[in-house]
Subunit: 273 residues, 2 copies
């Protein structure tokens, strides 16, 4: 038993979709969330910059007494995971391995689609891991740079011409290849489940890395016997790098419930990168 909190970070608020799953799957775990809202988005930046920001995010979270860290950011998980893994004395869980496990289980025709940020797609991280466990898989990927700003502006509903157009343009070539599984490789994208699911059709399984990661974390905590006590009253703390004002409103869209917990502002530039 270990009631210390789990740390979770993302470039901004998208990682809260993973937090939501963690809260459901692990209702007794304390969570410390860091959203780098003063520098969001990461997905169009260079590897050097993403690595630098990820190290500052890690340095901040490991300044607390925590038992594990979840990288709830598709961009950091794909671009910078190798630069942070094993270097902070705590287990670090990214979203790639859990999503790949699920996608490989789900696909029947071994044609897997993948969407993500420019940096994530360029990294080829998903391709490498999929091919390790399923060498005959065919992977069709495309970067979708407009989906994050569209989601952040609330353009998430069917019938909205802008999101429908963007989804169709990005996914048309992937759909044409006949994939039966699609990895939503950015933690903003689960908010587009409805639009993307409708466009791709019933025969295509959508894999949300954040959701799969929550089960991965549960297993890891159990294996190491560091789960929180049953009945432990979970506490949530949120840290952001831009103003705390307005956090609750945006956060409730990603969490699909009211944020309860403390929200504070932090300056990451004083943390080592």
């Amino acid at each position: 038993m270990d009631n210390r909190p789990v740390g979770v970070f993302d470039s901004g608020l998208g990682g809260l979709t993973a937090v939501r799953q963690l809260m459901e799957v692990l209702p007794n775990e304390d969570i410390i969330y860091l959203g780098d809202t003063g520098r969001v988005p990461y997905g169009g930046r260079s590897k050097d910059t993403i690595v630098k920001y990820a190290k500052q995010d890690m340095a901040f979270l490991t300044s607390f007494d925590i038992k594990a860290i979840v990288v709830a950011c598709g961009t950091v998980s794909t671009v910078a995971f190798g630069e942070i893994e094993g270097k902070y004395g705590v287990p670090i869980i990214g979203v790639v391995a859990p999503a790949v496990k699920k996608a490989v289980e789900a696909t029947k025709n071994r044609k897997i689609g993948l969407i993500g940020t420019v940096a994530s797609i360029n990294s080829k991280a998903y391709e490498k891991l999929i091919l390790e466990s399923m060498p005959e898989a065919e992977i069709y990927s495309t970067a979708c740079p407009l989906l994050v700003p569209l989601v952040e502006n609330g353009r998430i509903n069917r019938g909205d011409i802008m999101i429908e157009t963007a989804v169709r343009e990005y996914l048309e070539p992937i759909k044409a290849m006949g994939v039966d599984t699609l990895i939503l490789g950015c933690t903003h994208y689960p908010l587009l489940n409805d639009v993307i699911g409708h466009y791709m059709g019933d025969g295509v399984s959508l894999v949300s890395p954040g959701a799969e990661t929550a089960y991965y974390v549960k297993r890891l905590l159990e294996e190491r016997d560091i789960s929180a006590e049953r009945g432990h009253n979970a506490k949530y703390r949120y840290y952001v790098t831009d103003s705390v004002d307005g956090f609750s409103g945006a956060a409730s869209m990603f969490l699909s419930k009211d944020v309860s917990g403390e929200v504070r502002k932090v300056d990451l530039s004083v943390y080592e990168d």
Copy 2:
């Protein structure tokens, strides 16, 4: 005569639309450009964060021996200008005053439209200055948070359903009020001159703050007798906070010509905010 460079900064690359005008209007002036590409965009962030970043931008540029600074960022010019003006020992020119002067000259029916980032529109900076010189003006403004990402993804052409939809949604209420002048209050927007001009119609004058600012700078340098010598062979230096790779490609879209000059990466977190 003063051959020292003029400093120009923006949150990212949008300010290069103003640099292009400066190069045309002041072909003998050396320019040092700073684009905070590692933290772009500023327009959705809080005032505190925008002021902090603007002060670091200023501290960096004033570490050179320069004779004036142009704030080629609509968000900083509207949100943080009062916090930096008069505090660095060099003249600082924002885009608001030049744009307001032009808009007030251009309007005949005294109905002026204004578009910009969320932070710019919330600041009411344009409204205040317009009403000082034209108290009977009617100003209709709206924040357009999706225009920057759309421009940055090259969605700038007529016939593109996404940019046409966004422009129509944002501008419909302003057009309905019968404005005869529209201020494009963000340095990304001049790339949308064609789409916006077509939607608003021939009777509406579009005011590009970056273009007006170049004339303002010319007058200021002449009045203070600090223009560069005629025949001085202007040199251009560019600094960015993300990788220099890919700068040239994106920059050429904003400058409408090849970037010639030196591009370097800088870390602004070491500069005082």
